[in-house]
Amino acid sequence: MIEFHQVNKRYESGHQALSNLSFQMSAKEMAFLTGHSGAGKSTLLKLIALIERATTGSVVIGGQNLNAMGRAHIPFLRRSIGLIFQDHQLLHDRSVFDNVALPLIIAGMPPGKIAPLVLAALEKVGLEGRDKVRPIMLSGGEQQRVGIARALVGRPKVLLADEPTGNLDPELSREIMQLFVDYHLEGNTVLIATHDLDLVANMGKRVLTLEGGKLMQDIPAVGEVTPQAEEETAVSYE
């Protein structure tokens, strides 16, 4: 579902955020992306959603090479990917309901079908009854969950989350992680960037570790051995 082939990403500032990065995730796989701040985790997720483009190499999503994807097709790529952002990216002049409904409205869903889906998504993240308030009235953790509901409401095949538990207490973090695991078990691809190593360790999922834009480690999920695992741990230090 997600394939990176010798991807390099150099920002216009000249900073090399990702170097010769290769890995693959099959459909219905779940993985964590870890590494220190500045390791390139966010950059990697941005390449998948075409928020940034690879400088060289290729990113292939669902069999589509993103290098060949024109500007006009980006919205449709993004509709098939649920994105969760560290800074929530909510609209503060609209209700929680309208925020979560946005992807469905954009996709042209008839209004009658939208409400039940939105309310179900809010219930899933534990925000039932908060649909009419503005996000600004919510705590950081609750806002994060609004963002998660918005990412899940369209039932995308791929779910990407950038530090989704950054602002949450450990208890809530585990609940949110469980939500992602559930979504993964429903047959979707889930990739979560986080620096919360303790949390990751307990989950028993595949862990990709970035350091200075390079893939340093690819630990397979407990009880599984991915074919790429050996290949990628052998990546040299340049």
Partner: protein, 343 residues
């Protein structure tokens, strides 16, 4: 729009269930389900447009003063050329109603005596294209001059009457070919100093009005340009104020068209609002001017009434306002929306 599937035409293939399994298309593996582009239902599409339209109006009413100011500026920019157009149009109507008296005035050279002038008048009257002639002798000319100017006493200081004799000639027909024929003939005569018709004044006035009309059109074009710039710039600021909304919409898969829509409708409302305000301004101006205008015309013994904009003119004004608002926002949007991308 015709491409969009109509709701409710899908029920038909029920009977063909037997064949369904055999004719199942072989999908080309994995790229399809991820990147399918679902078609929006037509009724949903219409509903969303109405929602965006009313939503953008709601957005404008949230800042009533700012919105009204912008619409007023647009209104003034539209009202200015409209009232000029109205004025010139009225003037044209008035002038076209002025009937030429059809008289031709022949001023004799100063050395032509009254007697000689009388002979010439008789000769001219014999022409088939001349209906009648009337002689104004040097003395009569002097009397007229004293009567119609307050320089009469100055005339007494002159030893000799400096005014020439004149012949007022009425053509047999009031068409310009006849008048031109007479003019051509009399201007060749050695005794005639000057031949004039009142028709020339009307033609000159008309030429001036036509020039004014052209000028008004140039102003109309310039102010149309101005309106699109006003709207474009307002939309630019509007886009800047909705930066976050644009970014979020693009992040969750909003197309350029979807993001553009509310801004286009804002421009549409500005244009329509400006058109309505322009109509009010022009209406007020006409209402205030009607009295003095008719008074002035009354002095010229004209029964002409200052005309309002016709219904068609009003519709054209509203439609142009709306169109210009739309164009302005389109320019603003296409220039600035692309720059806002999530990072």
């Amino acid at each position: 729009m015709s491409k969009r599937p109509r709701a409710g035409v899908r029920a038909a293939p029920r009977k063909t269930t037997k064949r369904r399994s055999s004719t199942k298309p072989t999908r080309s593996s994995r790229s399809k389900p991820l990147l399918k582009i679902p078609r929006e239902r037509f009724d949903t599409w219409v509903l969303r447009h109405i929602q965006v339209m009313t939503g953008s109006l709601g957005r404008l009413t949230k800042q009533p003063v700012a919105s009204l100011l912008t619409a007023t500026v647009i209104g003034i920019a539209l009202a200015l050329p409209t009232s000029m157009y109205l004025l010139v149009d009225n003037a044209r109507d008035i002038v076209s109603q002025w009937q030429s008296q059809g008289e031709i005035w022949l001023y004799m050279k100063p050395n032509v005596s009254d007697l000689r002038a009388n002979q010439i008048a008789a000769e001219l009257e014999a022409r088939p294209d001349v209906a009648s002639t009337r002689l104004i002798t040097k003395e009569q000319a002097k009397a007229l001059f004293i009567e119609h100017s307050n320089l009469g006493s100055a005339m007494d200081l002159l030893a000799e009457n400096p005014l020439p004799a004149a012949i007022v000639l009425t053509p047999s027909e009031l068409n310009s070919a006849v008048v031109d024929g007479i003019l051509w003939h009399v201007r060749e005569m050695p005794q005639v100093d000057l031949a004039k018709t009142d028709r020339e004044w009307i033609e000159r006035l008309q030429a001036i009005i036509d020039l004014a009309r052209t000028f008004v059109w140039i102003i109309i074009l310039a102010l149309c340009f101005g309106v699109t710039i006003i709207v474009g710039n307002t939309i630019r600021l509007d886009i800047e104020n909705h930066r976050q909304e644009i970014i979020v919409t693009k992040l969750v898969g909003g197309t350029d068209g979807f993001v553009r829509r509310p801004f286009l409708y804002v421009g549409y409302w500005y244009g329509l609002g400006g058109g309505v305000i322009a109509l009010i301004f022009v209406g007020l101006a006409v209402a205030f001017l009607q009295q003095p205008f008719n008074h002035v015309l009354g002095l010229f013994e004209s029964h002409y009434q200052l005309a309002w904009l016709s219904l068609a003119d009003c519709l054209v004004l509203l439609a142009s306002g709306t169109f210009l608002g739309w164009v302005g926002s389109w320019i603003g949007v296409s220039k600035h929306l692309r720059d806002i991308e999530p990072t």
